[in-house]
Amino acid sequence: MLDKVWLVLLFPLLGFLLNGLFGWKFKRGLINLIACGSVGLSFLVSLGVFLDLLKLAPEARHFEKVLFPWVVSGSFKTAFSFLVDPLSALMILVVSGVAFLIHIYSTGYMHDDPGYVRYFSYLNLFTFSMLLLVLADNLLLMYIGWEAVGLCSYLLIGFWYEKKSAADAGKKAFIVNRIGDFGFALGIMLTFVIFGTVYFTPILERAPEVLQYGGAAATAITLLLFLGAVGKSAQIPLYVWLPDAMEGPTPVSALIHAATMVTAGIYMVARLSALFLMAPVSMLVVAIVGGVTALYAASIGLMQNDIKRVLAYSTISQLGYMFLACGVGAFGAGIFHLMTHAFFKALLFLCAGSVMHALAGELNIQKMGGLKKHMPVTYWTFLMGTLAIAGIPGFSGFFSKDEIIWKAFSSAQGHFLLWFLGAAGALMTAFYMFRLLFLTFHGKSRLTPELEKRAHESPNKMTVPLIILAVLAVIGGYVGIPHLLGGGNRIEKFLEPSFGQVSKAVETHHSGGVELLMMIISVLIALGGVYLAYTFYIKKTELPKKLAERYRSIYTLIYNKYYVDEIYNAVIVQPLKFFAIICWRFFDVIVIDGSANGLAKLVGLIGNLIRRFETGYVRNYALGFVVGVVIILGYFMLR
């Protein structure tokens, strides 16, 4: 199966082409079959690849497949070639698996949309791009996937393009991502200049010899690459596109937040772990950006009333955790959290979609309440997701998040302050998630009478994926039970070959007692968050209002998301617009257009002149022929 790894990519690509080119002729059933079937097959192949990889000895789990050479120019070589190792094998499994469930769910959710085929062809392309990004064995091919993912997000966020807010959100996502992509592109070029190749294997193997530890080159490369990751994975300061991205259909949000797109940045940093380890400054930057984002985004999440917006900020915050893990050298923990997050975040978004589906697109949680009795399946699955993300022991999020917070404290690159950022964020996470749960599903119904009548459970097409994801959100963490609790932390051992010498660099020297203590603290924090939410929104429902009135200014600041969008607009967007207008009015219209038009006129005049020779008389043509021969002969004779 390893040799057939390219099939993973082929199926979604074919699905995209078939539905994209001929879908308008197809019947619904065929469209569904192509769209879901292609990703399903891709998942099966991924599973085969994964199992085959497991059969090999841990140190032999490295397989490269060259499909065909692509660009060969002097010493620069790239190919369409793929790298299968524990990291990419796990990623393709998660990406194709989650994407498959989202495809199925979408057949129910998008049922009445006139852009049905367009939707599914984009969705397939999205999956294909992400898989390409993950499987690439060189930076350039990864960049193709990287850009294609950006394009698909643009297409899908702006899917309902006749709505201005959706079109704007699509543009915002694309433009903000461009800033990061620019850094990524520069990073790739610098890597090529220094290493003379863009392939991962030689870069990672030779990084310790070629780069000086903590040297300028190592720091520059990794910071540029990290800029790309910041854009794609929505970290401070480039996170602003992600909350707006929910203008797209909700399953798309699930896809963006869970399986494709935002995890790309984490994956890239993890893939190039050996490079990052050579640059301690960059590692620190990664850890701080991750930790601060984790806390910052969680704080915004506390006050939002839009169900999808809360989830969006929670994604930014969770991605912050993953970067925090990478920044302290715990790449395995970061990827572990990426996987569990993919399960529970996809689940939460799809539940939100199910709620919207039932309530005719209503998003404001202040207008919901008591939905538990109308939609039991959605409620119970949402509860599982909430327990997982809040880090309640026994659910998947607990294992991965606790691992990160512990590593932030204990690793050689860790620090108490980093631990504090993570722990405070965890408190908020538990709070806002249970706030969301209580306001939506518990308490008295605040629905309008029409909606009250309309509210219903979603069809099976939608609830079955929810149930599967809920199961995964619960048990997904058991592959990484820490040693302390008697587990073998199998996932990190599995991923170890991909990170090479990393695990040794961040070896911990704390006793089991400290680890147990920290684990108990983080459990208490999570439970504290839940308790607070319970008091605020179930027991003393008047409390939030009172608090908001008392701390009016802080409340408004956070409610308005720290006014970051407004600040960006005033400081960056408006001056740029002004500059663009000057360029346009003066430079473009007068200088460029003027010279271009002048040149065109000149060429036209010459053309007119030469055209006169084309008289239509055979004798003139024959003469021209002879004159040509004579002139050439003359040239040679007089030479």
């Binding site: 036209g604 053309g607 007119n608 021209g624 050439i632």
Partner: protein
């Protein structure tokens, strides 16, 4: 004598006779079926070409090698596409369809012999077989004045150019005492100084071949003939006839005249420059799409001449690949023009206004073909031009490549003018343009070619580079 080597040529010749024979017994309203019948013959010939062996026959005169194989496939391909585009056109507007198809096949037989011959006289005879069929085909619309005029002009000027070519050949024979290319090369290696006689013969030979290629200043016949000839013939002429000229030119110059490169390389550089500049600039002023394409095809030859001046293995590879790429894009573009003409009876560019709304498929196809002709990635034209220019860069002809790139930019202007008409102007009529199955086949094949060679050029390049290694540089 090894007759098995020329089985494909013999087969195609017999198939042409078969078409004529069947034509006798076919009712007038069923004669359009002769088109598909010719297509079948071409397909069988392609199979025969690929599977017939390689080797030499008739002494040194005939050589079946990768070089002749590559060209034969290009000629057969363009004949196939040209016949695809002909079927409706011929049914509606042409009398004597049997002879029409047979002449196309005979012309192709001539080209195949041409690409395989390694001796000047057999080369000349094949060239005549090719061109004389084309004279007749150009004048095929007997009642149309423009067509008759085109045929007559083509014939008179073609005869004049043949005379000059023959004169050059006779001089070369006089110098070296042989007409076999290998022998000529051996003679030239030995001689100390070529002398003026050789220069004169070279100039005459180049002039004669340049006429077939329609390189400036021997191009003047082309716009008139292209405009007047039946459009499928124009498409065929613009690719296959040029290909024949190129096949002969490369075989003569790389196969026998490499010892005296300093004598002819500057000449080709001058021709290339003039051809690119003039072809592109005059094309801008054209209001008739066939005339515009005529000048554009003159300009395209200029790019090929850039590589011809480089005289290296890569140069040969790039020229043959470019011819292949150019075949798909140019015949594809003509297929759109033919479809449009069949429907509306006009070739004026301004009539293309709003075609994107009337027939989106035709419009987008034309855009793709034009973009490939300009050389925009990821289409085939990009790969083709890249290799052509790379060959010249390797020899250090930076200024020549500079001119080529600049004139490519100019070419964007007139191609995009048509695109502007199709996409940004309102249509005057709203009826969609009907496209028959045969035209659709030609369009789809050309599209596949333009995209496939562009996205994945590797197998094509490696096959064609085998053809290039026939010569010793």
């Amino acid at each position: 004598m090894n007759l098995t080597l020329i089985i494909p040529e013999i087969f195609l010749f017999l198939w042409a006779l078969l078409i004529l024979f069947v034509d006798f017994f076919t009712a007038e309203e069923k004669k359009h079926r002769l088109g598909p019948l010719s297509l079948v013959g071409i397909v069988i010939t392609v199979v025969l070409v690929v599977f017939s062996g390689q080797g030499q026959a008739f002494g040194e005169m005939f050589s079946a090698d990768y070089y002749s194989l590559s060209f034969a496939i290009i000629f057969l391909g363009s004949a196939f596409l040209a016949i695809c585009t002909s079927i409706d056109f011929a049914r509606e507007r042409i009398k004597h369809q049997g002879e029409y198809y047979a002449l196309i096949l005979l012309s192709t037989v001539g080209m195949m012999f041409l690409a395989a011959s390694r001796e000047l006289l057999s080369m000349y005879v094949s060239l005549e077989l090719t061109t004389i069929s084309l004279f007749v085909l150009s004048a095929y619309l007997k009642t149309d004045l423009k067509s008759s005029e085109a045929g007559l002009k083509y014939m008179i000027l073609g005869a004049a150019s043949s005379a000059i070519l023959l004169y050059g050949i006779s001089l070369l024979y006089g110098i070296t005492g042989t007409t076999v290319l290998k022998g000529i090369q051996a003679e030239l290696v030995g001689s100390a100084f070529p002398g003026p006689l050789l220069v004169i013969s070279l100039v005459f030979i180049i002039a004669g071949f340049s006429f077939k290629l329609a390189a400036v200043p021997f191009h003047m016949w082309a716009p008139d003939v292209y405009e007047g000839a039946p459009t499928p013939i124009t498409a065929y002429l613009s690719v296959a006839s040029k290909g024949a000229g190129l096949a002969a030119m490369v075989r003569v110059f790389f196969g026998s005249l490499l010892p005296v490169t300093s004598e002819w390389i500057p000449l080709f550089m001058a021709l290339a420059t003039m051809t690119m500049v003039l072809g592109n600039i005059v094309a801008i002023r054209q209001s008739n799409i066939k005339r515009m394409l005529a000048y554009s095809s003159i300009a395209q030859v200029g790019y090929i001449l850039v590589a011809l001046s480089a005289a290296s293995e890569l140069a040969t590879t790039s020229m043959i690949l470019y011819l292949l790429v150019y075949m798909f894009a140019n015949i594809g573009a003509f297929a759109v023009v033919i479809a449009f003409y069949n429907h509306s009876g006009t070739d004026e560019i301004c009539e293309y206004a709003g075609l994107s709304r009337r027939s989106p498929f035709l419009a987008i196809s034309l855009v793709i073909f034009f973009l490939s002709l300009v050389g925009i990635p990821p289409l085939a034209g990009f790969v083709g031009k890249y290799l052509l220019f790379l060959a010249a860069i390797q020899k250090g002809y930076y200024w020549l490549v500079g001119v080529a790139v600049l004139t490519s930019v100019i070419s964007l202007f007139y191609y995009m003018n048509v695109v502007r008409q199709m996409y940004f102007r309102k249509p005057t009529k709203n009826d969609p343009v009907k496209v028959s199955w045969s035209l659709r086949l030609a369009l789809v094949l050309s599209l596949i070619g333009v995209i496939a060679v562009g996205v994945y050029p590797d197998p094509f390049v490696s096959l064609i580079s085998k053809a290039a290694s026939v010569f010793v540089y």
